[in-house]
């Protein structure tokens, strides 16, 4: 299976109309890739579906707006991928707990 980075980069390329080769771990999704808020919504929907998670965009945005987190923590590709991997792992862990009784 493709890495999480490849899966997310493919989603952004397809949904946001960004050349795939332009997307690197250092790319800022909004500043560098030019993704606007509506495209970002579609991207989050595609990520939610692909990974079976609910990306907490509102909480992230609130943290950034309140100065509690730098924008790069969530919106630079490498960090975004890491956050999504954490969410997917947390979901798998929760599923395993349920499955294990």
């Amino acid at each position: 299976m493709d890495s999480a980075f490849d899966r997310i980069a493919d989603i952004i390329a397809e949904t946001g109309g960004v050349p795939r080769e332009k997307i690197t771990p250092e790319s800022h999704v909004i500043d560098d890739l030019g993704i606007d808020s509506l495209d970002f919504l579609d991207i989050v929907f595609a990520i939610d579906k692909s990974f079976g998670i609910k990306v907490p965009v509102e909480a992230w945005t609130q943290e950034v707006n309140a100065g509690q987190a730098p924008p790069g923590q969530y919106f630079v590709m490498g960090n975004l991928v890491a956050r999504i991997e954490e969410l997917a792992a947390a979901k798998e862990g929760a599923g395993a707990k349920v499955a294990g009784g």
């Binding site: 509506l38 579906k49 965009v57």
Partner: protein, 153 residues
């Protein structure tokens, strides 16, 4: 339906946490038909999309207990399959596809006489009410169309 007031839903027929079904009767006369089209009145396709969006919006309003307001953000794969004219009795359906953080995706569909006339996938941003008047108006609209009664049934 009161097209010129954007009141597209007449009455909620059934609703649960994931879906909503409502009826909407196209009026026999409306200023909208004077322009769309002279001598051949049709409900504009954008108003059919709006009708699906409103059904979706009421579904989401009820899900959140009227805590937040859904705003239409995108329309995908809208298909307007049949003409809809004055007097048509429509059944409008909205089904939750996905609830994300600050947005939701729904599948909308309208039927007339058991025949599908349009469908689309809609994305709605879900935001805090920007004005108390809007929340009050949405609650009043929901009461008008029997949303709570349908949910309780």
């Amino acid at each position: 339906m009161r097209l010129e007031f954007f009141q597209m839903i007449d009455r909620v027929l059934a609703a649960d946490a994931e879906s909503l079904s409502a009826e909407a009767r196209v009026p026999d006369a409306s200023p909208v038909f004077e322009g769309h089209f002279p001598g051949y009145p049709l409900v504009p396709g954008v108003l059919l999309v709006e009708t699906m969006a409103q059904a979706s919006g009421f579904l989401l309003l009820r899900r959140s207990g009227f805590a937040r307001m859904p705003f239409l953000a995108s329309v995908r794969e809208a298909k307007l399959r049949s003409f809809v004219g004055p007097g048509a009795a429509l059944t409008v359906e909205a089904r939750l596809v996905h609830e994300g953080s600050g947005y939701a995706v729904t599948a909308g569909r309208i039927e007339a006489g058991g025949k599908r006339v349009c469908d689309a996938e809609l994305t709605l941003r879900v935001l805090d009410f920007p004005a108390p008047e809007l929340e009050a108006a949405m609650r009043a609209q929901a009461e008008r169309i029997g949303l709570d009664a349908a949910m309780a049934a």
